[in-house]
Symmetry: C2
Amino acid sequence: MKRHFVTIKDIARELNISVATVSRAMRDTYDVNQETRQLVLKKAQELNYKPNFNATGLVKNSSHNIGVVLPTITNYYFSTVITGIQEVAYKKGYNIVLYITNDSAEREMDILNELSLGNMDGLLVCVSSDSRQNDHFEQIIADGIPIVFFDRVAHDIKASKIMQDDYHGAYQAVEHLIQQGYKKIAHIAGPAGLLFTERRMEGFLAAMKDHRLPVKKEWIIHSGFSRDFGEKDALQLLQSRTRPDAIFAVNDRKAIGAMLALKKKNIRIGKQIGIIGFTNDPMCEIISPSLTTVEEPALEIGRKSCEFLLNHINKKHFQVQELTLPTKLIVRESTMRG
Amino acid sequence: MKRHFVTIKDIARELNISVATVSRAMRDTYDVNQETRQLVLKKAQELNYKPNFNATGLVKNSSHNIGVVLPTITNYYFSTVITGIQEVAYKKGYNIVLYITNDSAEREMDILNELSLGNMDGLLVCVSSDSRQNDHFEQIIADGIPIVFFDRVAHDIKASKIMQDDYHGAYQAVEHLIQQGYKKIAHIAGPAGLLFTERRMEGFLAAMKDHRLPVKKEWIIHSGFSRDFGEKDALQLLQSRTRPDAIFAVNDRKAIGAMLALKKKNIRIGKQIGIIGFTNDPMCEIISPSLTTVEEPALEIGRKSCEFLLNHINKKHFQVQELTLPTKLIVRESTMRG
DNA sequence: GTGAAAGCGCTAACAT
DNA sequence: ATGTTAGCGCTTTCAC
C-alpha cells in the first residue's frame, strides 16, 4: 500500500555521487561545492524528494513534534492559544500534537505516563485544575524533555512559565468597579489551588484594601470555571445577608452564567448589580447588556510559549524564564450604573 | 542533552535473550514462549521501556501521526470536531497533528505541498472556502496517503466524506419558520461554491417550493461566514423592496450578526422578523432572545471521520464511503411570534 | 521457539 | 570537497 518515496539514495545514484554528499548538500552544512549543491537541490526538487522524519529523528533522537497538553479546546481562550502556538510551530517546521485532558488530573497522568512521550521534543502544558502533585512533570524534565507551562502553571517546578498578568488584571477590574461607584463587591472565583485563581483573588483583595472597602467572607465563592457554576454562585450571592452590588468573576463564562441567573430574577445588570469578567470572550459582545471584562493576550501567550519551548529545544543553554503578559480593561455596559 | 531511553537491546541483555525475541514478545505476534513473553513484559515495565516510534515508523513506513487540516479552530463547531477526532485518535494510539489554513486556499496548498506529508499516515481535511481546484488532494491520495473529508468536502474526489445532513437540516429549519407563520423568508448563505452551502440552499428552496411560498432573488445573499457578514447581510435585507419576515442563516454566527443588526434597528426578533441559525453554538443560549437553530453533530463528525481514516490506514481494503449524520431542530425564542 | 543478520533512510565520524 | 562506513531502534526473513 505505502508508496516508495524518493530517498537521498535515489538522488545520489542519479547524480553519481554519494549519499553523504547529498545529505550534506541538502542541509547546507559542512563544506559542499556550490555546484554539486545546486545539482542536488535541483534533482531533489525534480524528483519531489521529501525527507523522512523518522529517519532523521532516529539519528538525531528527535521528532519535530511538540506536545500540547491542555484541559479542553472548546472555548475561546484555549482555542486562541493553540492558534498562536500552531502559528509559530508551523513556521519553524514543528508539528503540534494535541492532548486533551478534559481537565482531569488522572487523564493528564495517563497521557504523560503512557504516551509516546519519548517521541516529543518538548511539551507545552496547561495543568488540569484538580492536579495536585507534579512529580510526573519533574520526571519528564529530568528525562531531558523541556516543558513550558502556560496559563495554569505548576507552582513549584523549575521550568519556563508564561502567564497573563492575573494580579494586575484583577486589580484593575475591581478598581474599575469601585470607580463606577460599586462598593459591596463579591468575587466568584475558580477552584482553590490554581495559581492564576489565587493571583486574581489577590488582585481583588488588594484593590479592596487599597480603597478601604470591606470584603465579606460570604462574598467570596470558589467553584468551577463553567457557566453553570457562575449561575449557582450568583444565586448563592443573592442569599447572603447583605447583597453585593457588584460581582467580579474569575472568567467570562462564569460572569455570563451570573448574568443569566440575575436576569432571570429580573435584576438589572449594571444598575442594581455590576458585573465584570476576565478573558474577553466574543460572547461578551453578544450578551445583553454587553459584558465588561479584562482582556487576556491569548494569541500572544500561545506564540510566546511556543517560542520559549523551541528555544529550550534548540538552544544549548536557554535559561528557564517566566513571562507575564499585560492584560487590558475593556469597558462595556455591564458595569454602567447610569 | 537527550537522555538515553531504554531500548529492546537493554531488555534483551538483561534477560540474556536476543532482541528479536524481545521484539516478538512485545507485540504478542509470532510464536513466543509464554514464559519468556511474561519475562520480557515484566522487564519492560520494570525498566519503563517506551517504544521508539521513529524506529518502528522507519521500518513500517508509518508514523502514527494523522494530520488534521482545517480553516480555523476558534469556533465552536471546529473545536468540537477536533475534540471528537482527538478522542478516538488517542484511544488508538495515534497523534493528531494540527494544520490551520486560516481559510486560505493558498496556505492550504503550502501546507499540503511543503509539509512533512510523507510523515503522515493519513489526513483529515475540511477544505478552505476559496479552494477551487483539488489536484493536490488527488496527488496525495495517489501517493497512498488516505484522506477523509469532513464538513466542507471536496466535490469531485474519490475519498471518504463525512457530513451533517445539510439538506434536511435546512429544510427542517425553513419548514419550522413556515409553521410559525412566517412567509417571506430570506436566506443569508455562505460563499457560493461550497458543497454544504449549496445543500443548505437546496433545502431552503425545496421547503419554500413544497409550501408554495415565493422566493425573491433579493432575499438570497451569499457572503462570508462571520458575524460581520451576518450584520451586513441583514442590513441589506432591510433595504429590499419587500422586507422579509424571517431569516434563515447558514450558521449561528451569521444569525447572531443579523440579530445584533436588527436589534440595533429596534426590530423585535421573533415578532417582526424570525431568525434561525445552524450549528447550535453555545452563543445561541446567551443571546437574547435565544436563537432557534439546527444542531450539528460536531463531536460525532469528529469521531466518525477519525474512525474512517483509521480504517483506511489499517484495513487493507476498506472501501471509500460517504456518511451523512442527522441534524436536530432546537427551537428557542428567536422564532416565536407570540 | 529463538537467534543472527539485513535493512528501513538518514547522519556523522573518519578517511582521503 | 567528497566517499566509506557504522549505527540510530526496531522488524523480519532465514536458519536452526
